[in-house]
Amino acid sequence: MEFSGRKWKTLRLAGDQRNASYPHCLQFYLQPPCENISLIEFENLAIDRVKLLKSVENLGVSYMKGTEQYQSKLESELRKLKFSYRENLEDEYEPRRRDHISHFILRLAYCQSEELRRWFIQQEMDLLRFRFSILPKDKIQDFLKDSQLQFEAISDEEKTLRDQEIIASSPSLSGLKLGFESIYKIPFADALDLFRGRKVYLEDGFAYVPLKDIVAIILNEFRAKLSKALALTARSLPAVQSDERLQPLLNHLSHSYTGQDYSTQGNVGKISLDQIDSLSTKSFPPCMRQLHKALRENHHLRHGGRMQYGLFLKGIGLTLEQALQFWKQEFIKGKMDPDKFDKGYSYNIRHSFGKEGKRTDYTPFSCLKIILSNPPSQGDYHGCPFRHSDPELLKQKLQSYKISPGGISQILDLVKGTHYQVACQKYFEMIHNVDDCGFSLNHPNQFFCESQRILNGGKDIKKEPIQPETPQPKPSVQKTKDASSALASLNSSLEMDMEGLEDYFSEDS
């Protein structure tokens, strides 16, 4: 695909042509987009899709996939974020275009590590599964054809010839006749998960697959293709990251879902050092609570712990002077020589506040960063307890925090399903005694802020247990404004049109 070199013009297609470029409300994302878009739109599309995928994840945890509640909530998310989901709606070109472009932008961000890839693929698969499940039957064949999948529904005569065999082979079919059931004929190797367990009828190298089972196959195809594409994209990544316009955004995206990085807080200096002990049990997330406890007990923390905890404390409002005092006091209790502290450790603390060296103001770690990078080893106390603690130890820890057995078992289930942040949300709900924490956790400082809001009864409180349930605007709406302003500040006045992205997705790059 050649880059046209036109600046500032988004493709404006006439009605028919617009529909031709996106004939369906869903797609397999086989072709990268080839238009120019502004940097602002690039950012916004990316943020919106991250929000969407995060909702997909949360809804998948809170509700059984496929149930009415799940479907209606997911549909409303899609509608709100203006992505495509359903056929036969008005004006579908724009939502489909947004869907298309945003997917490819996120590939750039989420190809960077195995865990990011896995998360991205999982949510995109769930999204596709949902969209496919609401596709009307008569549209399915067209969609499959356009997507270059060799899936043909067989004729009625062909069905009759082998209906008993097909029924006897497919667990998803009950009854004695095939009736109007669509049966698809596909090469046997494309139906691996079905034929290996003898769950499909094979004849002459083809599998005869009922519609219900085709979905599983399609999703597998999708997963395989996307996985391959992400690996390819990862190889092009150095080129992408060297693009100064893209690099901060992409790093930001994959490490911070909604963009708020808690680097500047309105409450600097509002916390005094003697409050920290009590705050650690009331408002700290478990990761910081355990770091604080370890620091108090051992009068020492290793580098990983100092980084994670130190930046968190900065985020909750500690000044540099307070931080220096805090760490020094504690380390000296551990029989450290004060001069050694000044020489060795204080430099690092000043460095993390941006007062030394590069003078970058380091931002506190988000949940994802803590979960994905720098796992703790023996003697470390950093990391995410839900991710890095042995379940038995985690259980004991939660018991010592006086969480109820019911709550503990819910948390352990979420951990088993690798929903670490949701588990932490559950912890939040238990210690604050609320049914719904009302936010989607992605940052330890966010945990702290939300906790303080509840405990101090601020104006922005989302839920008071005694009030009746009234629909409140989700906090994420508020965060949108924060996010774009945060990102705008990152990228200042860079409003350039972009080079075609397709180079980063194609095989030849």
């Binding site: 065999e165 006897a168 082979s169 667990p171 046997f188 190797a189 691996l192 034929f195 290996r196 367990g197 003898r198 009828y201 094979l202 004849e203 002459d204 190298g205 083809f206």
Partner: protein, 433 residues
């Protein structure tokens, strides 16, 4: 025929590799019509030499190179491996990670020792006519599925030389299959699950997949003679207790009584069928399905495959026409049209055919002393006069079918690559054999 002395192997092999091994058919097979460049050259072979010396990553430039090396090294055993990205004998010169196995036939290995728990006549490496039927049934069941369910067209079944059979599926698309799909195929073909600690190894659900139904129909043809007469699986209390372990306890007493009153396995089996079908209607037991009779038949007769042989693309398997060092028997192709008549005990040993060759040669020399015949022609007629001939014919029939399907491929490529083909392949073949 039966006398085979392993100490004679070095001499016998020398003669075998010089005069009897069917090189030109063998090369025809593995070259696959020359459609893909270097397909033969990138094939791995491994040799087991005298004193158990094992060498891997052998590869050859062409048929005559193969002949020369085999005659020089005189291998006791020959295994065939995968087609690699580079010539295997140069794999050490390839950048790390770049030397990859790319294609190989889909292979199956069915070994009689895997049936030790259900055959009463022999165990471990021994076989006899009574238990060989297990291989016959295995070949029929697996071959039917490979052909009718999977659509595989080029299947070569080979006697391993001692206690089992191998299958080589050579279709072009099959050679490219991934390890995951190969494993899936073995899974599809597997019904008997569990090791020594598991008594009941076959569990059927209410819905019977056509593969299972068709396999049972094949077993039914052999069951009476194989299981009830030859194996006599209900002969006495010791043997029928094993079968009772596979049916619900609730019918044990009734069966014990009727078994004791009966005189032979056939009668006892009839009783069992009656009682089991009654039991199916009454009991919804989780442990036993509604098809007790079939589950017993399958446990005693259904093929048992070794998944490890089939799933790895780089797995090495004994070559057809290789000699079995312990029995001396040649690994010969099996004629599918006559699978019921195949008798492993009539497969020629290397000593037998060498003796045949000696006898013929002496006669021929006397007759044709004055005619000048080229060495090659001599060699190509040699095996034809021995008991190896019919087996080579089976192999040639297999090759003809392969050729037919490859002709189409070659024509497609011939426009651009005709020159290459003639230049690289034909010049080294020598006279056509």
């Amino acid at each position: 025929m039966e006398t085979f002395d392993p100490t004679e192997l070095p001499e016998l092999l020398k003669l075998y590799y010089r005069r009897l091994f069917p090189y030109s058919q063998y090369y025809r097979w593995l070259n696959y019509g020359g459609v893909i460049k270097n397909y033969f050259q990138h094939r791995e072979f491994s040799f087991t030499l005298k004193d158990d010396i094992y060498i891997r990553y052998q590869s050859f430039n062409n048929q005559s190179d193969l002949e020369k090396e085999m005659q020089k090294m005189n291998p006791y055993k020959i295994d065939i491996g995968a087609v690699y990205s580079h010539r295997p004998n140069q794999h050490n010169t390839v950048k790390l990670g770049a030397f990859q196995a790319q294609e190989k036939e889909l292979v199956f290995d069915i070994d009689m020792t895997d049936y030790d728990d259900v055959r009463r006549c022999c165990s471990s490496a021994d076989i006899c006519p009574k238990c060989w039927t297990l291989m016959t049934m295995a070949i029929r069941i697996i071959d039917r599925a490979l052909k009718e369910d999977f659509g595989f067209k080029h299947r070569l079944w080979v006697y391993s030389g001692r206690r089992g059979v191998h299958c080589w599926v050579c279709d072009e698309s099959v050679r490219k299959l991934s390890s995951a799909v190969r494993s899936g195929i073995v899974e599809y073909l597997s019904l008997v699950k569990g090791g020594q600690d598991v008594k009941k190894k076959v569990h059927l659900s209410e819905k019977i997949h056509p593969f299972i139904r068709k396999s049972i129909n094949i077993i039914k043809k052999y069951f009476e003679e194989y299981a009830l007469v030859n194996q006599d699986i209900l002969e006495n209390k010791e043997s029928w207790d094993k079968i009772l372990a596979l049916v619900p306890e609730t019918i044990h007493d009734e069966l014990q009584q009727s078994f004791q009153k009966s005189h032979n396995s056939l009668q006892r089996w009839e009783h069992l069928k009656k009682v089991a079908s009654k039991c199916q209607n009454n009991i919804k037991n989780d442990k036993y399905g509604p098809w007790l009779e079939w589950e017993i038949m399958l446990q005693y007769c259904f093929p048992r495959l070794d998944i490890n042989v089939s799933k790895g693309i780089n797995h090495l398997l004994k070559s057809p026409f290789s000699v079995h060092p312990k029995t001396g028997r040649i690994s010969v192709p099996i004629d599918l049209q006559k699978v019921d008549q195949f008798d492993p005990f009539t497969v020629p040993t290397i000593s037998f055919i060498c003796r045949e060759l000696d006898a013929i040669s002496t006669n021929e020399e006397e007759k044709e002393e004055n005619e000048a015949e080229s060495d090659v022609k001599h060699r190509t007629r040699d095996y034809k006069k021995t008991s190896l001939a019919p087996y080579v014919k089976v192999f040639e029939h297999f090759l003809e079918n392969l050729d037919k399907s490859q002709k189409g491929e070659l024509l497609k490529k011939s426009d651009t690559h005709m020159c290459d083909y003639w230049m690289n392949n034909d010049s080294e073949l020598g006279k056509p054999g």
